[in-house]
């Protein structure tokens, strides 16, 4: 019998992780929903930003919040760069070419990072108070990351619903041509969307580097989970992605403590494959 305290602890950790995963999934979904292109290299952009935080905080000694700001700004810039340099030229190409372009970016980022910084794992060491709730040790870093992720997602929600450009972004994702007829230059909307998506990646990076070490193949670890969450929630479906993030993270966390970390992943994968078979449009997709 598993001690219910362990289960509860795992469930809480799953929840906390889910928050940051949701940031990743939402960023990816936002870009796909508006521009219709999947950035396969999205989590590798996160990896780059994680390195940035590492250098700013661990190597140059700036406080973590500076690192966070740098990361978000860098993320936004990278987002714009990716769109302008790689996505824009292939907006009208066949899907396979578009996927290969961001796939090529993935190769490029992972190997360039290897070349620049080797495969050594780097982490940011923060001295944080110890926290115990009901006899369960809770990582304060994780808690802060979760809180900030939730705040960010609320911010995103407000941005998309209350601001002009945010509503325009939602409109473009519903009908790109109609929005052009409103006088909106689609390219500008795409650039803003890419910047926002990139900024989210940057924020996620800052939240992840305080929990995990970064290395060039970080994307290989977190990428698949992010993709699975996006598929599970229905590609382009923001609410679905949000829900799916927590489902996935809970499955991994709880199975991880009942069996083993590896089994946790295995079960998550099985859930994923089953879900594909039952509802490939995503859990919140309408049938047929």
């Amino acid at each position: 019998m598993i001690d219910p305290v362990f289960l509860a602890e795992a469930a809480i950790n799953g929840l906390l992780l889910g928050g940051v995963l949701a940031l990743l999934a939402l960023g990816l979904n936002l870009i796909f929903g508006v521009i219709d292109i999947v950035w396969i290299a999205y989590v590798d952009l996160v990896m780059l930003c994680m390195y940035a935080v590492y250098f700013v905080v661990q190597v140059y000694g700036w406080p973590i919040w500076v690192g966070g700001l740098v990361s978000v700004a860098l993320g936004a810039l990278l987002g714009i760069a990716v769109h302008v340099l790689i996505i824009s030229p292939i907006l009208t190409s066949a899907p396979v070419n578009q996927l290969l372009a961001t796939g090529g970016l993935l190769f490029f980022l992972q190997s360039f990072a290897t070349f620049l910084w080797t495969t050594d794992h780097r982490s940011v060491r923060l001295t944080l108070p110890r926290l115990e709730i009901l006899d369960m040790p809770i990582s304060v870093a994780r808690l802060i990351a979760f809180a900030l992720a939730i705040v960010a997602m609320l911010g995103l929600y407000l941005f998309l619903t209350r601001t002009y450009i945010g509503t325009a972004i939602r409109a473009v994702s519903q009908d790109r041509e109609a929005m052009a007829l409103m006088g909106a230059n689609p390219q500008r909307v795409y650039v803003v969307t890419s910047a926002v998506g990139g900024a989210m990646a940057g924020l996620a990076a800052a939240l992840l580097i305080i929990q995990y070490a970064v290395h060039p193949f970080f994307g290989a670890a977190f990428g698949p989970i992010t993709f699975m969450i996006c598929v599970l929630g229905g590609l382009g479906n923001m609410v679905g992605a949000f829900v799916a993030s927590f489902i996935m993270s809970e499955v991994i966390a709880v199975s991880g403590v009942i069996w083993s970390t590896e089994m946790g992943y295995v079960i998550a994968f099985v859930v994923f494959i089953v879900m594909i078979f039952v509802r490939p449009g995503g859990i919140l997709a309408r049938r047929g």
Binding site: F32, G103, G104, F107, F108, F112, L235, I276
Partner: protein, 325 residues
């Protein structure tokens, strides 16, 4: 007619190659050619789906499932890879159905389909790593040596046997392509690719064709994976599963042109040649630089040569011909 004659000459050249004196470069040349044959075969298998708009980014799943199945059955039970291949093909076909059937029913296409297959490919890779107790994890698995040449074990000391085997495999792949090209399936799939609803309305069983072509592609890919595993006597989740190898396959085919018979071969030959060149150029210095340039070139090719080399070359020739006329 000229093309046929040229093809025959090329074939004879390839057949005779292992006996041509090459000043010590022969082993290396044969090695590279075997890789080209096998990966062209796999690329052609992918192209069977790709040419009809089913862009799979997860063919690594089929490679890995196939290669690991036959290797594990041989290592643990001594089951000859010939039969192991049958089991592998069945399992891979099953996976193909699990993925293709719902995607077809719910019209998951384009980027979405790419993402689903990507995730599946990664799932297989991570599963292999997770179950390290019997799969060897990220360290991979060596194919248990049969101790000497054995047709049953598909292991040979002389590389030339593999050379001819791979050559035959490659030709067989071209044959399958030709067969699909000439069959009803091709017209049906093209109709589906253009307008699924219209195709369905004229009685084309969309799901059946989509699943069918996916199963065929998956099965052939598994066979290719087994061939590769037997050749290098080693399986590893990163070389035979996951997004890395999946993207490489797609890149090679798109580069060479996925709508033509020899497109995948041309593309594969070029990418392998490129990879070898970069490897030799950088050797062990600047670890990661070779891959970085590979990725960069990939991006540039996609942006500037969307029709692939074969496709672009054809366009150029066609334009020259019309100008001359």
């Amino acid at each position: 007619m000229a093309a046929r004659a040229l093809g025959l000459v090329l074939l004879l050249a390839l057949a005779g190659l292992p006996f041509v004196p090459m000043a010590g470069m022969r082993q290396y040349t044969i090695h590279v050619l075997v890789q080209i044959f096998i990966w062209s075969f796999i690329g052609g298998a992918w192209a069977l789906m790709g040419r009809f708009g089913l862009t799979s980014l997860g063919h690594g799943a089929f490679l890995g499932l196939g290669a690991y199945t036959s290797t594990l059955l041989w290592n643990s039970f001594g089951l000859t890879p010939w039969l192991g291949a049958v089991v592998a093909v069945l399992l891979t076909a099953g996976l193909a159905v699990i993925v293709a059937y719902p995607c077809s029913r719910f019209q998951v296409v384009g980027h979405y389909f790419g993402l689903v297959t990507l995730a599946v490919g990664e799932v297989v890779r991570l599963l292999i790593i997770a179950e390290r107790d019997w799969t060897g994890g990220s360290l991979g698995l060596t194919v248990k040596p049969a101790g000497g040449d054995s047709v049953l074990a598909l292991q040979f000391a002389d590389r030339r046997v593999f050379y001819y085997g791979a050559l035959v495999l490659w030709l067989a792949g071209l044959g399958v392509w030709r067969w699909v090209d000439r069959s009803m399936a091709r017209s049906a799939m093209e109709a589906i690719g253009e307008d699924e609803t219209a195709a369905a309305s004229v009685g084309i069983h969309v799901t059946r064709f989509k699943v069918g072509i996916t199963v065929l592609s998956a099965a052939l890919t598994a066979i290719g994976g087994i061939a590769y595993a037997q050749y290098i006597s080693y399986v590893n989740p990163d070389t035979l599963a996951g997004i890395g190898v999946s993207l490489r396959i797609v890149f090679a085919v798109v580069l060479g042109g996925m709508y033509s018979l020899l497109g995948p071969t041309v593309g594969t030959a070029l990418t392998i040649a490129l990879a070898e060149y970069l490897r030799v150029l950088f050797g062990l210095k600047f670890i990661g630089m070779a891959e970085t340039i590979y990725g960069l070139l990939l991006i540039l090719f996609i942006i500037f040569l969307p029709a692939g080399i074969y496709g672009s070359a054809r366009e150029l020739l066609r334009r020259r011909r019309t100008v001359a006329a």
